[in-house]
Subunit: 366 residues, 2 copies
């Protein structure tokens, strides 16, 4: 089979031009005599790659100068563990708004030295909506408020139809897990204290994550912790406190450059509107053959979970999809059913092909 | 320039056949319709890669069944932070034997809830030797004793000429950082409690590390900690507690397979003897033009730091080396001078070429 349209939730599809560049560079980096994956992270070749990647990411996201950008090994879960260690003192309260699986997972990463306040949770409603901002029970003087910008499994995203985004948290800094929606639209970073994201959805390959942090917050003492868990140490060492995942960083840089070349976040915002409207339209217009249960005000533009009315046909749906060159559609085990992840690297043609297949499958099985 | 002999300390040279395989696989994995870097870590394709990599590593290193093998994002420094969190309780003493830069760095990763005992240190002597086992001030009932099997910067390695290796620590489990010497010779893993290694020297690409832990130790309560810092949680989830660095894992697996095909650790032991003897022989036979200051009993077979008597010629040495197709020889900023890292992927021909260049450089400058 040739390359399919890949709807996997992450690790996810990368732009083909990025993969081709990585392929071309695999044995030799320019005239350096070695592959980029074999070279010192402190040598001039990789330093140039790293510096350019940060500059491109700053341009892409419009990161203000008073925010630091860190490239870290591992993913968002590690960031979730480092937030309280770096930004909360003993006995501080941290406010969490839980709108899906990953927001709940974040609670398991908290140090026992902090008090956890679940300011709002969508769990009772099966995470099909996001509690209205007015209902949130925030703690005055909390160390921070944590939200998940987009829930990859439940397909729930803070969208303007829900209310003001980002939600206002007053003087308490807002920390947001942007793993699955970063760079899908322009955002005002100055409204956040910390934004973090595993790269493997919109930013690049798995194995590296990005943390964007307002510099003044790094002055907080936080908890006693290992040096490797200290964001200030990482910043002081240019994200090279230890050997960083160089190849992953390099490929992420290729993806940043690709996104800039394609038109930046404004263009991906437009494409995300188009792609998600196509797909939700097909689901809602299927007369109940397919369904998505998420409150339309907070439907994710990145991850579209959907279910067949007759779930005994799931296997046939997936098998037919594969034959049609559409892969990665199986839903997460938490929810079952299907899920189409349509990140920046998914072209609108892929979504059109999925919609055509869904309509054809319905005709044959309706 | 074509591919050079790359003496970089890590990220380091990979076998060319491995890079070629990674290159061939970059756009499509068999008939899966996507690259391995784009596929779910829980899908059948990657699960097969992951399972085979662990099986091959177990075969390569002779890992007993009562030891778990974990694949973790990031490198050895993170492991250094996780050791006390997982294996020491509040107030426990942990014994550290410091024989170079990385052993000292490990101390900065300790949680403040444990007591640190530096049982022995080579710092006063500039880390040119390893204190004799009889001089170690071990703590009865310590949570563990930590050693660095090979110090990458100082070029100091526990070798049989030093004494019994591994050093006897009685009932206290021995934890060892094997980042830069793992798989360079057969070792008796049952003599250790924990062995850990960043992959980027002998095992594969940077961005993934391997932790081999005696299963009974996982029953220890350790410190209160985030779930993502809990080795037991990683084990219970097959090293997929969060999304693992799949591409890095896959390339590491290619390297494991390559090492097995080349003859396994016994063969790399033989080659390491041959390569290191050639290089130390050239240094010692240079009449002082080059020098290595490490006690011959503990000279590393992996990392050979050396100095020119006239260090104003360093730049010329490095420039000439590069012209001769020999790269990555600049010493670490901590020591200066030169360093040749001759891991498993470095063929003996590379060392011969280096020795020939060194002799020629001396003739022209001696």
């Amino acid at each position: 089979m040739t390359r399919a349209y890949n709807f996997a939730p992450g690790p996810a599809a990368l732009p083909e031009s990025v993969l081709k560049q990585a392929q071309a560079d695999m044995l030799e980096w320019g005239d350096a005599g070695a592959s980029i994956v074999e070279m010192s992270h402190r040598g001039p070749e990789f330093m140039e790659v790293a510096t350019r990647a940060e500059a491109d990411l700053r341009t892409l996201l419009g990161v203000p100068d008073d925010y630091a950008v860190l490239f870290m090994a591992g993913g968002a879960t590690t960031a979730q563990a480092l937030l309280p260690l770096n930004f909360a003192s003993d006995g501080d309260t941290v406010d969490y708004v839980v709108t899906g699986h990953w927001g709940k997972t974040a609670l398991r990463q908290l140090t026992p030295a902090v008090r956890i306040n679940i300011a709002a949770s969508g769990e009772e409603g099966g995470y099909r909506s996001i509690p209205a901002r007015e209902s949130w029970q925030l703690t005055p003087g909390a160390a921070y408020v944590h939200v998940t910008a987009n829930e990859t499994i439940h397909g729930v995203e803070y969208r303007p139809a829900w209310g003001a985004v980002p939600p206002d948290t007053g003087d308490v800094p807002l920390f947001a897990d942007f793993s699955s929606s970063i760079a899908s639209e322009p955002i005002d970073i100055s409204r956040y204290g910390v934004i973090y994201a595993g790269a493997q959805k919109n930013l690049g390959p798995v194995g590296i994550s990005v943390v964007i942090v307002r510099r003044d917050l790094l002055a907080r003492a936080g908890q006693p912790r290992a040096d490797i868990f200290n964001y200030s140490s990482h910043l002081a060492n240019g994200s090279m406190l230890n050997t960083p995942p160089t190849w992953n960083w390099y490929v992420a840089g290729l993806v940043f450059r690709w996104m800039l070349d394609e038109g930046g976040t404004a263009e991906f915002d437009r494409r995300s509107d188009e792609k998600s409207a196509l797909l939700y339209g097909a689901i809602d217009g299927s007369g109940g053959f397919y369904r998505n249960e998420v409150d339309p005000a907070v439907r994710s533009r990145m991850n579209v979970p959907f279910f067949l009315a007759d779930d005994t046909r799931n296997a046939a749906f997936l098998e037919g999809a594969r034959e049609a060159g559409l892969i990665g559609l199986k839903g997460h085990r938490v929810l079952g059913g299907m899920r189409a992840s349509i990140y920046n690297a998914m072209p609108v043609e892929g979504v059109r092909a999925l919609v055509a297949y869904m309509q054809d499958f319905q005709k044959r099985n309706g």
